[in-house]
Subunit: 397 residues, 2 copies
């Protein structure tokens, strides 16, 4: 009977999946990415509009699993060489500085104090890799040169903006030295390099050997469980060191790129099914997180301003370095727009600021809506402008 095992779980899960399906229908109606449909539907059914579902611990936990699985699957399509390009480091760095300045100055111009302006600047720094990568995947352009640039840059950008966030919090809390900052940067970069080396030179070999062991011959699901365990382990280790969990999951995915199995279930195929269910729920949950009730007329004006700044500073801050580094005009624009979605990253920064009482409900809601707008813009720019032909030819499988 097992019904005693937390009654509402089944109900919450069925609701989340039901809303995900609604998101697909909405996306199909407005001819947008399924991601956009899911976030918008999550917003509509969430507490601020219909109130059919709230962001419970369960929703949060499932969304957390979804984010890890999503980046694990995205990782399959990348090799180490795709990520160690110096160009990405340059684009990532400039693409952090320009939005930070843009956000800070806009906030000051609107009369906010330094503490709030610091948080708004930080909220504008980090790209939501999860959303961008999913949009690229859905449009069948994940294996293009500029898509690799976007992901590679976004990974670097993610590390840099996490640093920005911890520095911002430190600045807001008290003093911070250049030495502290250097130590944090060194620790995190060193950790990621070690994790990647372990994944690529050790775990991938281990999986190949394991596939020929008697245990894999007896239990063809063993290697698949092992692979998913590694995804969550790398995610957990990354979190422990202060890097984002999804970066760890991504590195785990990269480690499994191109592994051929004889006796075991296919890792990529299995992960894709986990992805279908849990990534959908993740995107719906992003919409549920939003509370629209704090929006008044002056707040809406600020949202308009900050959203335009958010997009322009990424298009300029990433697009111009990309162009200077030799990418074509269209690819540079695509990199700029591809780096624009802020998604859950900005929301988390905003939540931290709210919890520290450094920003009010108005700025909190502004950052959240800005992050949704920037997230919706990328698929629109890609679908209806930059990659119209590619989208028409694509049927995601």
């Amino acid at each position: 009977m097992s019904s005693g095992i937390m009654p509402p779980v089944a109900l919450q899960m069925s609701l989340l999946l039901f809303f995900a399906l609604g998101g697909y229908l909405l996306a199909s109606k407005i001819n947008q990415s399924a991601v956009v449909g899911e976030i918008l539907l999550g917003l509509v059914v969430g507490p601020s509009v219909l109130g059919l579902i709230t962001y419970t611990d369960f929703v949060q936990a499932i969304a957390g699993l979804g984010a890890v699985i999503l980046m694990f699957v995205i990782g399959f399509e990348f090799k180490l060489e795709d990520l160690t390009n110096i160009k990405y480091g340059v684009i990532g760095l400039v693409g952090i500085i320009v939005p930070w300045l843009g956000g800070y100055l806009t906030a000051i111009a609107f009369g906010f104090g330094t503490g709030s302006a610091l948080f708004i600047g930080t909220a504008l720094t980090a790209t939501s890799i999860a959303i961008t990568a999913n949009v690229l995947k859905e449009m069948c352009i994940l294996d293009t040169e500029f898509a690799k640039a976007i992901i590679g840059t976004a990974v670097i950008d993610d590390i840099l903006s996490l640093l920005t966030l911890s520095i911002t919090a430190d600045v807001a809390a008290g003093t911070v030295s250049l030495v502290d900052i250097a130590v944090v940067i060194g620790k995190q970069v060193g950790f990621l390099v070690i994790l990647a080396l372990i994944g690529i030179f050790f775990v991938s070999k281990m999986i190949t050997q394991m596939d020929h062991s008697s245990i894999a011959k007896r239990y063809p699901e063993f290697v698949f469980i092992f692979a998913v365990m590694i995804a969550f382990l790398f995610a957990a280790l990354s979190e422990f060191v202060g890097v984002s969990a999804i970066i760890g999951a991504f590195i785990a995915g990269v480690s499994f790129n191109g592994i051929d199995l004889t006796h075991s279930h296919d890792i990529a195929e299995g992960a894709e099914y986990l992805y279908i269910i849990f990534a959908s729920v993740f995107f719906v949950s992003l919409g549920i997180l939003v509370d629209l009730t704090a929006l008044t007329a002056p707040v809406l004006i600020f949202i308009g301003a900050i959203s335009v700044v958010a997009i322009l500073t990424k298009v300029i801050g990433c697009g111009i370095p990309a162009r200077l580094l030799g990418y074509s005009g269209r690819d540079s624009l695509a990199i700029g727009f591809g780096m624009s979605p802020r998604g859950e990253v900005a929301m988390i920064v905003a939540l931290l600021g709210l919890n520290l009482s450094l920003i009010g409900q108005d700025i909190y809601a502004s950052i959240v809506v800005m992050s949704i707008l920037t997230t919706v813009v990328t698929p629109i720019a890609f679908r209806n402008w930059l990659f119209k032909a590619e989208v028409a030819a694509c049927r995601w499988e």
Copy 2:
């Protein structure tokens, strides 16, 4: 970055999967079912021995998902006709009454009061379908005649023992009339019949049509999300009516038996991958739930007695009716042993009794250990005695 989404989730998930892998290795070492290995390993790493993991809300939630997915996948292998056999009703009814009496009388013989004895009797009634079905599946004998009898009977047994539980709780709490009992029975049976009819005559047709819609052609994952949503929806509805969630998930799975899809991802294949991850975690969690510290010498004697009674009363209470109804001697024994695992069902009954202060920690721990012992006995009886030849020929895929 999304790391802010509940930090410990990735760590807990990686630990659970790590322990599941350990369970496979243990099972392989002692030549037992993977289920037994996972439960035993959960017990060892759980709070009562090593304390490496506890039964958190997250573990509970994931185990709940696992139980639903497990029964959904088991359902795929059944048709409606497999479940509407009057024989199963007879075996199920006798197979509830005999263990109930056996448990009650044993408890009285050991000097326990009426309240405690009522709970012990109830804890002995319900078979853990999840465990039995998984053992049968793992041994490649899920499509045999007696396996169908076990599952069909276990479903009926599950409904009947839920009724027993609610009656026991009512008796313990105050008065209860025969009319009340009749109403509950009527409501639950009626609900399950309606759910099965909706699933088989409506949802399955809907899926076939949906597969040919433009949305499925554009998004081949749409139908799969829909199917999983239905599994959780049926589970949630069942829980709402007071029937076990996993019975609802099972009926959803039965509804999808034999559906052929053209444009969409394969439902059975996808569900199998979800099953690999979440059923493993479910079985590990059953072990984690156990607290062994309450076990003293007199308690251990009682556990021995009650465990023997638990197995014998199912072997007799189900095996004899089965033999009388025309099953072979071996099949009747298999049905008796197949109905023996109490698993999470007894644990939930025990938890309820503990919460109502009707039983103490000693009886609680006894019921839990009894349920593990009965769960371990079935695979052993099947593997090393009744189906030695079949197991040798089987390689689960």
